[in-house]
């Protein structure tokens, strides 16, 4: 399918099966079975590609799905499952059915993997694992290995992110058969998987940002105060222009990030896209809530399905400060006179 056909298909599924009521129900703990089944049946979960050759060529299709999911605040671990399935295929491990959670070793989290005879002992404590409680299996990327914990056996402390999505603390102490562990093939080390995860989150964010802008422009044209739509006031127009600029910048960064990743420049473009989308998220949320006024602060209005996700997603897979340091190290390594050639080449 071309990416626009994929997008049309995704929009049909999400518009139909992910209305605000479903998002609210998911937040209260009701797994959206029909929505998940439709997503799985449509083949969206393997959009990135089979991964056998290490190519990321399917990212454009994956982006069409995830962007639409962001717009509809789809309450599913879509990006997480896509990433986990891609990684399992790359590592030639069995891909389990159902939603998957992914852990990328790094930061304060440690995962120990010790060989004991013919099997492996895996132990560790990970502070924040999106969707762990709903996952059928856990996929772990360490520096050099990929591990599959299926079925998921772990002590899970339920935590939720700002959007009410599961983001649990997980303790592991399990024995894994040898066929659940693989050497990480080239391009699947933990740092690379983390970058890919950041890019997938940024794609979801760009979709949510576009939707927030659309909602807010419509609202500003409909809401009448002082005898005219509030969108006719220059003060409001100038704020919405700023929001639109931020949305445009995030969307361009994300689409350039995807192109860069397909072209082999994930190391720079994923972080840059996540940083730019993260910065836009904060500024746009600020403006769209101001324009919506009190109604946008209610639970009844769906604006918060988008803003609370953005506030969460901007922190997952590295926030703006994390990526600024990463990119800063990359830029500093170019030397002052290498800085411009670095940009000109991307």
């Amino acid at each position: 399918m071309s990416d626009s056909l994929v997008q049309d298909a995704a929009i049909r599924v999400f518009a139909d099966l992910s209305p605000p009521a479903t998002v609210n129900a998911a937040e209260s703990g009701t797994w959206p079975t029909k929505l998940w089944d439709a997503v799985a049946a449509a083949g969206f979960l393997d959009a990135i590609g089979d991964g056998e050759d290490g190519s990321l060529a399917g990212l454009a299709d994956a982006a069409a799905v995830l962007g639409a999911a962001g717009r509809h605040a789809v309450p599913l671990p879509l990006a997480d499952t896509m990433l986990a399935r891609w990684l399992l295929r790359r590592a030639k491990l069995t891909v389990p059915d159902g939603p998957l959670a992914i852990v990328v070793e790094g930061g304060d989290d440690r995962v120990d993997l010790v060989r004991t005879g013919g099997s492996w002992r895996l132990s560790g404590a990970i502070g924040a694992v999106p969707w762990a409680r709903d996952a059928k299996a856990l996929v772990i990327a360490t520096g050099s290995k990929v591990a599959l914990v299926a079925p998921l056996r772990a002590a899970i402390e339920k935590r939720t992110n700002l959007a009410g999505e599961p983001c649990d603390a997980v303790s592991l102490d399990v024995t894994l058969a040898a066929d659940k562990i693989a050497q990480a093939p080239a391009g699947t080390d933990a740092a690379t998987v983390y970058r890919l995860g950041a890019l997938l989150r940024a794609i979801e964010m760009a979709g949510a940002l576009e939707e927030m802008l659309t909602l807010t422009v419509t609202y500003a044209n409909d809401r009448v105060q002082f005898g005219r739509p509030i969108g006719k006031f220059q003060a409001v127009q100038q704020q919405l222009a700023l929001a639109a600029e931020q949305v445009a910048a995030a969307c361009v960064a994300v689409s350039a990030g995807i192109a860069g990743a397909i072209g082999g420049d994930l190391a720079f473009t994923a972080g840059a896209a996540k940083l730019r989308a993260g910065e836009a998220a904060g500024r746009v949320a600020d403006i769209v809530h101001q324009v919506h006024g009190a109604i946008g602060f209610t639970h009844e209005h769906r604006l918060h399905h988008l803003t609370r996700r953005l506030w969460s997603w901007r922190d997952e897979f590295g926030h703006e400060g994390f990526w600024a340091l990463e990119l800063g190290r990359l830029a500093a390594a170019q030397g002052a006179d290498g800085l411009w050639p670095f940009f000109a080449a991307r």
Binding site: L213, T214, A244, A253, L275, A336, F343
Partner: protein
């Protein structure tokens, strides 16, 4: 429902990279030979000798037909030359307006005779143009201009005053927006663009010192200046339409976000390979922003190349880009103590001082940010 703007991705064709190398090599050699020295702001660095040298290389009027002395290269190739010149801090001001604005205007609206008379000389870097738009009582509200061109036998008699015109005192010609008929109920009617020889009797040019101490912009007074009929550009009365049709060219180029790029380079030189985290974080953040802006700007260049007129997108590039180029000195100064002095021989300090002093002009020239945001709001469907 989708958003009102569109930024199609653009990939630079392979031919651009050879061109990029050629420009870099020329700049390095010309700098070594003493032809030019770097300066940050594209408006401020003016050199007739430099413009002639790059004209000889075919880097002015790059996209124009060879019939008019152009080189028939793509808008993206022109983009590459422009960005290489700007980030190097090369003195592009002399040919800048002719290359970006006046030449393309003559190509679109000028007579065949005008094209043959002026375009080859612009492309060779021999003649320089300036733009006469603002007036003492006219800034953002361009339709309020009062400079009049009254019809007389064989031409027009022009009276009035233009102000903030960059480099009029160093240019040969001005494209002046004038009133050729009195204001009507439609205030956008009755304007015309005239091609003015700045040596004509009755013209006086007074440079105005800016806050950085430079004598770049000017006041130009017209006192019964005779302009022959054959110097009318386009149709009489179409001036407004012509002026507003070129805005996307003016607003989306790299000059709208790299004005302080050289400061970023000198900042990096100063902080070295192992900077403290705050400096690293600033550098990384600027990196993500600059990359994004360049992709946005290239996208607009691609749409212009395809014959589209993306005014909304161009306004976004300029507003975001100006904010970015102004943010660099604001953050850099906090990370480098004792930074803003001139004198001595400290390139970082001089670049920072120059950036701070020129920053107020970024968000004024070529459309204020308030005007740009109004255009964006209109594009969003709010006006």
């Amino acid at each position: 429902m989708s958003v009102a703007f569109r930024f199609d991705p653009v990939t630079l064709p392979p031919a651009c990279e050879a061109l990029r190398r050629a420009v870099r090599q020329f700049l390095a050699e010309a700098r070594a030979s003493g032809l030019w020295t770097p300066s940050g702001d594209f408006v401020a660095n003016h050199s007739a000798a430099f413009s002639q040298a790059i004209g000889a290389h075919g880097w002015i009027g790059m996209t124009w037909s060879k019939r008019y002395g152009g080189h028939e290269r793509s808008a993206l190739e022109r983009y590459v030359v422009t960005e290489e010149m700007l980030v190097a801090g090369a003195p592009v001001a002399a040919h800048w307006i002719g290359d970006r604005q006046s030449g393309p205007l003559l190509l679109r609206f000028g007579t065949e005779a005008q094209r043959h008379e002026f375009l080859p000389r612009i492309a060779r870097g021999e003649i320089f143009f300036c733009i006469g738009m603002s007036e003492p009582d006219t800034g953002s509200d361009l339709a309020s201009i009062r400079t009049r061109a009254d019809k007389v036998d064989g031409g027009y008699r022009v009276n009035g005053r233009k102000v903030w015109t960059s480099h009029a005192h160093r240019s040969h010609y001005m494209i002046a927006l004038c009133r050729t008929s009195p204001a009507e109920s439609d205030r956008h009617k009755g304007f015309s663009q005239l091609l003015v020889d700045l040596r004509a009797p009755g013209i006086s040019i007074r440079p105005i010192r800016n806050l950085a101490g430079d004598l770049d912009f000017t006041e130009v007074t017209f006192d019964d200046v005779f302009i022959p009929d054959d110097r009318m550009v386009g149709a009489e009365g179409d001036g407004w339409k012509q002026v507003t049709s070129e805005l996307a060219y003016e607003r989306s180029g790299p000059e709208r976000f790299v004005s302080t790029f050289r400061l970023l380079v000198e900042f990096q030189r100063r902080i070295g390979a192992n900077p403290e985290p705050r400096a690293l974080e600033a550098l990384g953040r600027f990196t993500a922003h600059l990359w994004t802006l360049r992709r946005m700007s290239l996208s607009v260049a691609g749409m212009l190349q395809a014959g589209e007129m993306p005014n909304l997108e161009a306004a976004m590039v300029k507003d975001l880009g100006n904010a970015f180029e102004r943010e660099i000195p604001e953050l850099v100064r906090l990370l480098a103590p004792r930074g803003q002095r001139s004198g001595g021989n400290d390139r970082f300090e001089e670049t920072l001082a120059e950036a701070v002093l020129h920053a107020p002009s970024f968000t004024l020239r070529g459309g204020t940010r308030e005007i740009l945001r109004g255009i964006i709001a209109r594009g969003l469907g709010l006006r």
